[in-house]
Symmetry: D3
Subunit: 243 residues, 6 copies
């Protein structure tokens, strides 16, 4: 059990958390929230094309490189990280994994959760990860699962941005201002040596979301927002203030 506030990131492959949630991770870490990343797989089969084009590559070697890159990125963002090594393309999904994730939920008692979108016609592992994350959250709430353990409450669940948002029927309802941690995020991005083609793509995503955030602010003299990250929340927000 933890007394510090925590946030949980559930990433299908070992690089997803960087492109999609690196800003949120660094930002909350800075705010005193302990961020923990769970990589369900290394993305060794489906998201390591550049590595596989090297001579004499093996799956074991790909996994090692991917783990090193992800650890380096997590360090820069200030988060802890663990790897479940479930395999990718397809990502394994069964009862044991639900229970393993439920244990993590219980251990961390997260204040919020970040994971993938619920649909993605380009990537079946991503929604599968999101569904695992969602169902494990429900199991971790159940008194009858490992009775005696402290159950979790109902942490908000945010879906981070997929690669082709409209095709995934993903509609953001939260724009996170990550301007203050952009340097950290971009440093973390640069750890992903095997996916250099995505560096500038996700920089542009951050700039677009930054412009959009500025367009949606209620107060004119608002501070300058340059970089943003977008999220879709799955549950209604409970609040006492609508401003």
């Amino acid at each position: 059990m933890t007394t510090q506030k925590t946030g949980l990131v559930i990433s299908a492959h070992s690089a997803d958390f960087v492109w999609r949630a690196g800003g949120a991770i660094a930002l909350h870490q800075k705010q005193g929230v302990q961020m923990h990343i769970v990589c369900l797989s290394y993305g060794e089969r489906g998201e390591s094309a550049k590595l596989w084009r090297q001579p004499n590559m093996t799956e074991e070697r790909v996994k090692q490189v991917r783990e090193q890159e992800a650890r380096a990125a997590a360090d820069i963002l200030g988060a802890t990280i663990e790897f479940l090594d479930l395999g990718d393309y397809p990502l394994q999904a069964d009862k044991e994994i639900l229970f393993e994730l439920a244990d993590i939920y219980r251990r961390l008692q997260p204040g919020f959760v970040l994971s993938h979108s619920l649909h993605d016609p380009y990537n079946y592992d991503h929604p599968r990860a999101a569904h695992l994350a969602q169902e494990a959250r429900i199991i971790a709430q159940a008194e009858g699962h490992n009775p005696g353990e402290k159950v979790i409450a109902a942490p908000p669940f945010y879906c981070f941005e997929p690669h082709q948002p409209e095709q995934c029927n993903w509609k953001p309802d939260v724009l996170l201002d990550i301007t203050s941690v952009w340097d950290q995020k971009y440093q973390a991005i640069q750890c992903m040596q095997g996916q250099e083609h995505l560096w500038e793509y996700y920089t542009r995503v951050a700039l677009q979301r930054g412009v959009q955030a500025k367009r949606n602010i209620g107060i004119i003299a608002a501070k300058n927002i340059i970089y943003g990250e977008a999220y879709q929340s799955l549950f209604p927000r409970v609040t006492e203030n609508l401003e």
Copy 2:
């Protein structure tokens, strides 16, 4: 121009703001936000059945009673109120009204706006009011509308709960805890002498939304929520914190 924070409520008929947003009005008022209610019509034709069943009733008389009831309710909630008297069933909707509403937006510079849902197969005035409120908000942002006036920023826009929510394709993403102001809201509700059949209906709505709010809280030892109001937001929320 105002220096105090303000919130704007745009109500199709003179009682809508009570059932649907009475809690939000009282709550923000208590938090120091000046709440202002605009009633586009008195609901004199379509939502005053009980009055019309009285002998010798006239439209003028219905309007008077409806205005008195609405003023009394606004007083209890601590809000200012004005009446545009646009007629109902159907609610008038044209360019002049857009400009009148845009003037109100500019004068108030609201931090947020509350109005109706975008669809309602049982009531065409409600979505019409919501669209007027939305388009006027856009006009009030335009530099070329009454050049020289201070334009508004992009205040969040929340759709309050319609009478039969699922039939309106309305899906709440905000649950407001109104437990602390419920007494005030119920007092305001009781001003609506002509619609007594709705008092208990909307009390039950508040209790259901209260239970749902408790079900969606991230932290277990949360304070007790008994009454709630639900809203659907039209624009993404800009924030630096996902907890």
Copy 3:
């Protein structure tokens, strides 16, 4: 005021009711329900291509022919019919027409209403007619509209089948067995001399809906269904029986 049960059909152009609701009209008439058809326009501009290709054609002449065809079809189906002559492409839609339709609702006190689908990218008059029909129904329910008149209850509202159903986001939830009145419907269809190209199209529609109706029956030894009409209902059905 009427004591016989009635059904109301609101048709944008003077032939729509035949293709789309001819079976329902004949069927209910046979069951003792008085069916009344309101043609908002003659479809003189947009749905009379064949007539316009005749020499020396005028709008007045087109209207006459269209009215004759529609009257003949209504006779065959056993329904009464009236023509509002609002013009088509675009169909006129204003407050006066709402009130005229509301008067018809009040006069007829219909047990159910049939009109067009809410969307149609190929035909803007059709959804406009449906919205007029829907809003007039609401106005006819309002005590303050022509106080003293008998208001209407909440008659079920069914959208009949548009020409290209999937493109209109129209999804039928009612399949009406019109086998017993198909001959009458096909006779009525044949009154539409100017649109002969649609006769076989809508015969095939009826056959497909017939097959689908058979596929959705709960009891195996059901009587034979050959022809059907499909509808989308706008409001929940109130019942005491789910069989």
Copy 4:
């Protein structure tokens, strides 16, 4: 094979049928339909929080209590009940269970089926149960499944109301008047000793659905409706009458 009319209720956990379909069960039973309930699990892990807070509780004991409560409720409603004990959180779902349910469909030849909504972000067992119920219904229609047995027709399939309806994208299209059997339903509800917090919640649901049913009736002098249950149907209704 049965000659009496039957209805089938497929409930993910042993109490779901009470809150969500208790009225429909009692009502049809009264109309001479034999109602049969299948509880896929006892809800022993995920929906028995109060029991787990008792000292020395075991899963076996939780199941026993839950079974007793469910049997008592079924008795009050006049229905037969069976328990498949598939485990919950997560609910087991495989080919064997599909076949077991298909056997039940064939044995009962139900005139209609009630089960859960197709989506529920708060509860993965509920939609899983609905999909099992739906796919088993299809298998029971297949001539090649246990050839020689009597296949079933196409019984209507209704999704009953989830706990937070809008969040489940569940939209009711049927409102069932359960006023005449409310006492029975509330008695059955009171059997659920472990979930007392839901008694008043679902009483309010019944009252709201009752009000809504009254709002959707076509005929003004309709009898009084106080309590309702709402359903979403999955297939089009086949009928000869639209009133």
Copy 5:
């Protein structure tokens, strides 16, 4: 590896490709594209009712007849065909099958893919086949799946028409003119001796889609279209021309 252009059709049961894509197969074959059909099952349990009604029928015999019919139809359409014999009602779906399909994708390097709709409340095998086809396509794109093999590009993926299109939330965005190959398609249809009741149903489907195709053509003097097939594409089309 192939140098000829190829198209891949993935059919849940052995007759689906005929009703739903027979025109596309013949048409592209004529245009010099090698069309290959994969039948995941024979539809021996769920779609062979007529055969099962014959005396002394066995599953083995049903499969043989179904294979013969499908081979005959494929011959007429000019396509190659293979059978995976995965069983139906329910269709088997696991990692091994994904890999088997991925191998087929790699071997064929198809320029486009045809399979089922993503939803079908009447048939769970159909969407299951579509999801297998979609996920296998993704796996075949992954460098780390059988490293060294030539990965595939991103072939367009079209969902063919289900039996009751609106109930499947299937919305066509492509209308294929199959007039020139209709005779071949109808000959292929006639190979399906066990499903004669569908011959005229799908002839009418082709005629309706033909009429609709004519309604959606940009140029008036277009050649005559009589028969059509409709498809829903899952991915955006990449082009240099919008005409």
Copy 6:
């Protein structure tokens, strides 16, 4: 009447066509299609903030500058342009404008049409323009509108990209490769002196759509795509080829 192929662009404000369709215009012009732009308004009130911040600005002067910029951009793109001066915020929309646009359709006989998205909560003029464009297209197809004139066929209708695509429920199904004309488009963009803050925003949009186009190509050795424009089509495409 024209013998050259033509394309029609209907732009709510005088700069929209540049950001949203500049690539399509230049590309088709290069392919020999005569592109014609209709600007419904100058965007003088709502989209000229920078001009209004200059001293002594008048609406007349704003319109002049906006027209000059738009003409310069159209010249660079090689298109003809006309201005209807209907006013903006709100954009005027009535029967006369429908008829004026219908005349343009008839005069041009366009092979395809480009206009705005059907929804935009940030901008009511944009969907209003799209609906005018759509309904005028229907009127221009009607034989009875100005009888004797040559009616138009059914030109494909594409909605171009709004500023915040997901918030507009806009989902692109066409990705246009505009790499070969990017220089022209960027030159045209630079004519918009009053909206310099959008130059880089829409450059990034073009780069993202370029990457996405590459991700959706069926053939691996495809030529390099760097810049793209995305469109949503409103009607099904009629074709004889699915590759």
